[in-house]
């Protein structure tokens, strides 16, 4: 039971080394002559104006919020899908109802204009 996870763990360790080594080698052999102009933030050849932080659209936040909701939904559908053949009609329809309710929710958001990127 634990064995495949042991494999994943070892794989993870090997994989952690992999991206680190090239960066390290590069850090050792690459030239390093920083100066203030070279290290300035890129902005189309002019000096940066103001703070990095600018006001963002609230839509980013809305989509992140909706993402959490639908992500939870799809997670619930996963075990339902896997157990599908051990079910009777009633149980299968429970899952269908679950999807329908959330499709209704999506339709509601859509109608209210929550999915518009304006």
């Amino acid at each position: 039971m634990l064995n495949p996870w042991l494999y994943i763990g070892i794989f993870l360790i090997v994989v952690f080394i992999l991206p680190g080594v090239p960066v390290l080698i590069s850090a050792l052999i690459a030239p390093r002559k920083p100066n203030p102009i070279k290290n300035a933030t890129y902005e189309c050849g002019v000096e940066t104006v103001g703070d990095t932080w600018v006001q963002f659209k609230v839509q980013y936040y809305v989509f992140a919020l909706l993402f959490v909701i639908f992500d939870v939904e799809s997670i619930f559908l996963f075990p339902w899908a896997v157990a599908y053949n051990q079910m009777n009609l009633f149980m299968a329809l429970e899952g269908v109802l679950f999807i329908l309710i959330l499709t209704g929710g999506l339709a509601y958001i859509w109608k209210k204009g929550g999915l518009e990127w304006v």
Binding site: L2, F56, V62, I69, F78, V82, M87, E94, F98
Partner: protein
């Protein structure tokens, strides 16, 4: 058994360090990342307990969805740049006091409970314990009512999200009506 115990202690230590990092981090983004690593370690603990499904859900939903939302909000608000102001005069000492009390209680419980006594657990769980199929089956037989309630809970969350932004959008529309060039 001893390997598992050693692994548990190591992981628990990482989890605690991450949790303390979350509390002590000056920068909100670092705090969020500490929380993500804490979730990750807890997921590994679930795997050790033979609940890989739960572990994957933990990573997908908590580390992958909820924390992304948090990081997003931090960045959208520019919250990591905000000056730290200490309004909490009473809460600090009170927190320490209650925290120490809880630690004392847990220690007392740990000492008074006879840890060496064999717990009454099945020696061997069945092969498909915690497998996705059995979880799905349970979800739709014993826990079918909570399962359906969850769909309504999610529906309520959707309505909430819409209502929140609808107010925003109406304000914006009104503002752009007043001075059209700023939109």
């Amino acid at each position: 058994m001893t390997v598992q115990v050693a692994l548990f202690i190591a992981l628990a230590a990482v989890a605690i360090v991450a949790a303390i990092g979350l509390l002590r981090a000056k920068n909100a983004v670092y705090a969020a990342l500490c929380l993500v690593s804490n979730f990750g370690v807890v997921a590994v603990l679930y795997i050790l307990l033979g609940a890989p499904f739960l572990a994957m859900v933990q990573i997908t939903v908590y580390a992958g969805a909820i924390m992304v939302l948090f990081v997003f909000v931090i960045m959208l608000l520019g919250a990591e740049h905000l000056e730290h102001e200490d309004h909490l005069l009473l809460q600090g000492p009170l927190g320490w006091l209650l925290g120490l009390g809880l630690a004392g209680l847990v220690t007392f419980a740990a000492i008074s409970a006879n840890l060496s006594a064999p717990a009454e657990l099945p020696a061997e769980v069945s092969a498909n314990f915690g497998s996705p199929g059995s979880i799905g089956h349970l979800l739709l037989t014993e826990y079918v009512f909570p399962f359906e309630v969850i769909s309504f809970l999610l529906l309520a969350a959707m309505v909430g999200a819409v209502v929140l932004t609808l107010v925003q959008r109406e304000k914006k529309a009104r503002r752009s009506l007043r001075n059209p060039q700023q939109s």
